[in-house]
Amino acid sequence: MSIRYNTHLLFSLIFLSIACTSFLGAQQRAASEVKFKLAQSYERSGDFETAAKLYEESFSKDSANNVIFDALKRMYLQLKRYDDAIRLIEYWLQAHPNDIGLLAQLGSAYVLNSDEPKAFQLWDRAIALAPKNEVTYRIVCVAVTQSRLFDRAIELYKRGRIACSNPILFTTEIANLYSATLNYAEATREYLNLIRQNPSQLGLVQSYFSQYTVHADGLKITTQVVEDAVKSEPDNTQFHHLLAWLYMEGNNFERAYVVYKLLDEKLKAGGRELFNFAERALHEKSFAIAAKAFQDIMDLSPKFDRMVQVKFGYAYTLESANETSDTLELFGGRNPFTEISIAEFKEKYSKVIEAYERVILEFPNTEMAARSFYQIALIKQKKFFDLDDARSLLEVILDKYSKFSTIQTEAQLQLADVYLIQGSIEKSEFNYKQLSEMVHVRPALREKAQFHLAEIDYFTLKFQDALTKLSTLTSNPGSDVTNDAIGLKIFLEENLQASEEALKEFARADLLKRQLKFTEALTSYKAIMKNYSQTKVIDEALINIGDIQSQLYNFTEALSTYNDLITNYPESIFIDRTLMKMGQLYQFGIKDCAKAIEIYQQILDKYPNSIFISEARKIIRQLRGDSI
């Protein structure tokens, strides 16, 4: 009995003690959980000190809890209690001695505590735990990078690369770190590594490069490194691509050309690489290089599938290289300062014409052939004044290339102009009229045709008809011809009432000028000067005389004529324009910069509201060598 009783008592006591223990344990856990949650809410509210105290209490009761450990460590770091943080991590490390992440964190804590040597030791220790595993290096290097020790991070990544026997491992990470530390040369070397392993990454590498090649020094250094790489690995075509791209970024098309030529050969591209380059060079106005590239395709890759574009591109490039820009256009379409004779022009453009003719001959039924006809016609008309040839060529386009409507309408517009100059006014009018009534034609082209029709009315003395047409055109402020239309309209309205006879004479003289009959036009304008000296057209007559003299390279006479206008007609609205022309004659014709400045200065002194004021200011400053 007593044994049985004792046994019962023993079991009861054991049960009770287990129940009590588990009840107390549950109570303790609940209390710890509440404390932890409370600490979290203090942390969220920014009361880090209280939060830290509560986390400490929680940790003292549950020191194996990873979540509490993390929270307490976070608070120590937040409160800059680095010694406590270090102690805590070290304590935790005792239980987890092979935790690489923890060692990396401990290193970071030492950096914060201004003990970098100790940090380096710990990071080395972490690596030693798994020295051939790339994850080890990633974990450690992230901690090192976060501690802003970029050089050390690069060193460790490189160590990892060797240890893991993988030469491209961590390439992006290392390159980014070099780039962040402004070491563009090493960053470039790393990115080249990426291409070496994966050539399809070229675009990506270009985008990386463009982050620092926007700086002049970045571009220079990167180019040098890629040049070296090309020298040491001449068979890596992606390096060549990269180098050519860098050259073009720096506007060095000559060097880019050399690279593309080599690339085309290496890749057996049959002209494709050179063609893409030539198109870009032409677009960037590097004419000489573009021409060279087009020529190379013709010579080296005669079977290139876009040969018609190549040949046209070549001709067009040669033509563009011969053009000079005259933005002011004070003397009309022709710049009088070129001093090149027609014979010289013919010499200069002979190769251009030859190139266009080759397109026509070799690809006779293409749009490029039609365009070549058109370009030759323009050269013949505007450079050689060979109107018959120009007309014939334009007529060929109208006859034979009807399927290419765009070029056909452009040719028709030009043909109408040629007819007008040649004196076939009816034919000219007919063509302009056709164009002005066409539905499927570009609005700008149609408006041009309409304006020229009004001009023809003026030349043929049908002033009212001209005014009606001009009224329609002037109502469209968005059109390219509006300004010209307004100018002509005002001129007609002003002079029609004042002196119709003078206006008629003037229109006849203007037509002669338009038809490039300069000597006859000069006589007519001079006659107007004599016979209608009291009319309003007189100053315009003088300007036209001066302009024709300029076109005939009689700069001294032109200056004298313009001077007459300024002296005798000081109220003329054209004085500022005339002064500008005089300035240009001194600057470019007679090449007397001091006198040119003096004339431009007169515009500033006397005509502060002139539309030429900004240009005059700019030119004076250029001529006197200002750095503006």
């Binding site: 409160l79 970029f150 530390t181 200011r617 004076i620 503006i628």
Partner: protein, 443 residues
């Protein structure tokens, strides 16, 4: 044959002498008048609505000073005009730069000076004597179009040098009369652009560049270096320098001074957390212009403190561009020439413009600071000026007076399209102000 006059009596002789002198005087007056008409004695560059290019007009004044030509700044006369000697080179230069001017005779000029000196007119003439030596505090990779002041100086053709942290720390500021603070963050938080731009190349590069600079100069953190720079600039002002700051360089400068011995930067800016309760540890006595401000502690919020009003993150949604104007105060030219100089303008109600720091909260401005412009009826102050030691400081809120909401990467403002910008004029007033001959301030 020469006529010989014989005087009948001494009286006749005296009468003749008197008549002779009278004729001589009349002739002199006539000759002088003709000379005056033919050759202007003075050139007036009006700064009212007749002026064709207000900004280049400041450039002419600066250019004249570099040529040792004295310039009188006529405060409140035709909106702060300039009077120069009637030299041919001045006339030519005005025309070449497109600056409107009027040629005055000596009498006309005297009349203007008399009008200015009249006690009943709130005007004064300040003699500008020496072209100020100007420094702009900018990082090495700076582009001139990202800052309104350098844009204005480039346009007006006013020469300036660039200085950066190393120059400031090494005391090179002593060489300059005037320093402009670019939109720099003296708190070391990289403009608090982290949330939006942390991964962009320019931000990463900027942070690395600043860290490298700090290390080279012996500072553990960028924020430590920037605080030292702020302290050096403050010393420069105390020693008699003129400081002009715009946009975020204003409040960031004072915040850096107030937090000289505190860490207010979060972990993404300096690698460690900020001090606990930095707000309580701020020392406002170190600030030039502001006090009692509250820091914006959230590192992800694009704002430093409550000085800026309305706060940057909400400003675009609460400010109506159509009604956003601020008003310049008028000061007594004879008693308060300095604030008068700084507020010379042809408009006194000026179109607003935003910046990282747009306006300063009035209640946070120290009492001794002069408010030059504010948004009427609000707490928003735009333009302030104060003295510190022997020097002065001027703070101007907003980034670019002609680009309402300038953002990172926006194209530069073309000042050729804003030649008469009243907002830009305020900047240029500051540049010429150090050229003024020092006068005893009456109030």
């Amino acid at each position: 044959m020469m006529e010989v006059r014989i005087f009948q009596s001494p009286l006749q002789k005296i009468a003749f002498k008197q008549q002779f002198y009278r004729i001589a005087i009349y002739a002199t007056v006539i000759i002088l008048t003709i000379a005056n008409v033919l050759h202007a004695q003075k050139i007036l560059i009006p700064m009212d609505l007749k002026q064709t290019d207000h900004l280049k007009a400041y450039g002419i004044a600066y250019w004249a000073l570099t040529k040792n030509i004295d310039v009188d700044w006529l405060l409140n006369f035709r909106s702060g005009s300039f009077m120069l000697d009637g030299l041919e080179i001045v006339v030519k230069e005005c025309r070449i730069r497109g600056v409107y001017f009027e040629e005055l005779s000596g009498a006309q000029a005297s009349h203007i000076y008399a009008e200015i000196q009249d006690e009943n007119n709130n005007m004064d003439a300040i003699r500008l004597e020496k072209a100020p030596r100007i420094a702009v505090y900018v990082p090495p990779n700076f582009l001139p179009w990202d800052d309104a002041v350098t844009l204005a100086m480039e346009y007006a053709e006013i020469h300036y040098d660039k200085v950066w942290d190393d120059g400031v720390v090494e005391d090179t500021l002593i060489k300059y009369d005037w320093i402009h603070l670019h939109h720099e963050d003296f708190t070391g938080q990289y403009g608090k652009f982290y949330a939006q731009f942390a991964n962009t190349p320019w931000y990463v590069e900027q942070q690395a560049l600043y860290e490298k600079e700090a290390k080279q100069l012996g500072y553990k953190k960028v924020s430590d270096m920037k605080k030292e720079v702020a302290r050096k600039i403050k010393e420069y002002v105390a020693a008699g320098g003129f400081m002009f700051a715009m946009c975020s360089a204003t409040d960031a400068f004072d915040i850096a001074l107030a937090s000289e011995n505190i860490d207010i930067c979060d972990i993404m800016y300096d690698g460690d957390p900020p001090d606990l309760n930095p707000q309580k540890k701020l020392d406002y006595s170190k600030c030039l212009a502001f006090e009692n401000f509250t820091l914006e502690k959230n590192p992800m919020v694009y704002e430093y403190s409550d000085i800026d009003i309305p706060p940057s993150p909400i400003a675009p949604s609460v400010i109506n561009q159509e009604t956003d104007y601020f008003t310049l105060f008028e000061f007594s030219a004879k008693s308060d020439p300095v604030p008068t100089m700084l507020t010379q303008d042809h408009a006194n109600i000026i179109k607003g413009f935003m910046g990282q720091t747009t306006n300063f909260k009035k209640s946070l401005i120290k009492k001794h600071v002069t408010i030059l412009a504010e948004k009427e009826g609000t707490e928003e102050v735009r333009y302030i000026h104060g003295n510190f030691g022997r020097g002065t400081f001027t703070f101007y809120g907003g980034h670019d007076p002609e680009d309402y909401q300038h953002a990172v990467g926006d194209p530069p403002t073309d000042l050729n399209l804003h030649k008469n910008s009243p907002g830009y004029r305020l900047i240029l007033n500051n540049i010429l102000f150090p050229a003024a001959k020092k006068k005893q301030q009456k109030t």
